[in-house]
Amino acid sequence: MFTNAGTSSFTTFLSRVAPEMLPGRRPLPPGMAADLAPHATTIVAIAAADGVVMAGDRRATMGNLIAQRDIEKVHPADAYSLVGIAGTAGIGIELMRLFQVELEHYEKIEGAMLSLDGKANRLASMIRGNLGAAMQGLAVVPLFAGFDLAAADPARAGRIFSFDVTGGPYEETGYDAIGSGSLFAKSALKKRYRVGLSVEDATRLAVEALYDAADDDTATGGPDLTRRIYPVVMTATAEGTYRLTDAETATIAEGVVAGRMENPGG
């Protein structure tokens, strides 16, 4: 089964030899299942002058309960791109792992990376595969961002793609947010985002936006100073992806909280 000359796509290979491993291929009993599993919430992404920043809060909820305080929703998709997940956490994590293998697999088989648009389109088709489950309440909507190695203008190399549940990929300009707190995060970013931000400023701005989301959305968690749980912040630049260390995010988050002590509106 492995020797068929076949395809460079891992999901296409799986659909032939092990379709049960694809999230969209499982039969679900009829009815809504939205309250069945934890939900992952807010993710923000910001395009900076020399790359892109993505950050996510750490909360997962089930109805009115907090299901997890330290879930990680922002991950590297490959060397130069990031993916964040909102929606049903279990399916989201599975989809994210599958997407990581998909990109790595293509790179190993073909000896070259997919283009950034190619990666976004692959992710879109994987979300489309989950449409049936999404219509029963188990929706997953990722946010995808990366450094485009083929960009003609280096200032536009950091690019962001959002998706709807039917898989439509949409390239966003400047910034975007997904998840339950995205409305508030986007409102905050709308007022504060400037073209040509440095990556450092963008990381601070991302944490500020998550603070604003947590301020007004119960499903989004703010910086947890007592337990020392801070947002996951990652960057993708010409040097590759980088996850800010706990100490670095602690410094940023404490700065944001200190600022809000003086001016709660930010």
Partner: protein
């Protein structure tokens, strides 16, 4: 009525072996050896696009000689198997031994069942925590597997090359020394009148599995970095971005979380550890 001539099974197997051996001996050679910093692959290859050496998984590399279409088919199968197992279990559960076994089964079945055996010889190498933990498996056209002692040569006049490697190779060599030993061994054969040849950098395909890296350890050495190694400068392999960037895994304790390499995740601007 056409008469079917009788050929004994021994005769059939001998003929197939001879065909495969001749095919493999016609090609250029490849050398795999372990050194202090990892596992080194050096292959004579005039093409820079059709690889004889490639990445299978985080700590596993693949080198082959013989017919390109045949070993490329096996390589793809290996990548698929590794990625499928890594996704279903964990990245740590993908091992060189399992891959070598799978290749051996496939090659063995092809040798006995098909009318023509694969004219290939393969090395599956897994880099370990120390040079003593490195695993090198040699797979031949008939599906036999051999565990090699830290160095091996295949293709072309492999025996002569193995002899030179055996006397020069030490597992505690640096990368520069290892590349020179490998290239010197390759160049002892095929020269006019038994003399050594000179092999230019653009006729070599060089890659390593880097022991120090977390996540994907495979890295090609090309261009200026390779020339520097061949010239005997002890300069470390350049910090140039690898051709196929290898990438992100989180901490060593959580290999599942993603596919990546530690050095790309280092803070930009800081030297590699």
């Amino acid at each position: 009525m056409a008469m079917q001539f009788y050929a004994s099974p021994e005769q059939i197997m001998r003929d197939r072996s001879e065909l495969a051996r001749k095919g493999i001996a016609r090609g250029r050679s490849a050398v795999v050896l372990s050194y202090s910093g990892g596992v080194l692959f050096v292959a004579e290859n005039l093409s820079s696009a059709l690889h004889k050496v490639s990445e299978i998984y985080d700590r596993i590399g693949f080198a082959a000689v013989g017919r390109y279409n045949e070993f490329e088919n096996l390589r793809r199968a290996g990548v698929r198997m590794a990625d499928l197992n890594g996704l279903s279990y964990d990245r740590r559960d993908v091992t060189g031994r399992a891959l070598a076994n799978a290749f051996a089964q496939t090659l063995g079945a092809i040798f006995t069942e098909q009318s023509k055996p694969f004219e290939v010889e393969i090395c599956v190498a897994e880099v370990g925590a120390t040079a003593a933990d490195d695993e090198l498996y040699r797979l031949t056209y008939d599906g036999s597997v051999n565990d090699e002692p830290g160095r091996m040569a295949m293709g072309g006049q492999a025996e002569a090359i193995t002899g030179v490697l055996k006397s020069n190779h030490r597992p505690d060599m640096s990368l520069g020394e290892a590349v020179q030993v490998a290239v010197q061994a390759l160049s002892t054969v095929g020269g006019e009148g038994g003399a050594a040849r000179t092999i230019a950098a653009n006729q070599l395909e060089v890659a390593v599995l880097d022991r120090q890296r977390v996540g994907r350890t495979f890295r090609r050495i090309t261009g200026a970095a390779l020339t520097a190694l061949l010239d005997g400068e002890s300069a470390p392999p350049s910090s140039d971005r690898p051709d196929t960037p290898s990438v992100p895994t989180g901490e060593a304790g959580k290999p599942t979380s993603s596919a990546g390499s530690a050095d790309l995740e280092d803070r930009p601007g800081q030297p590699d550890s």
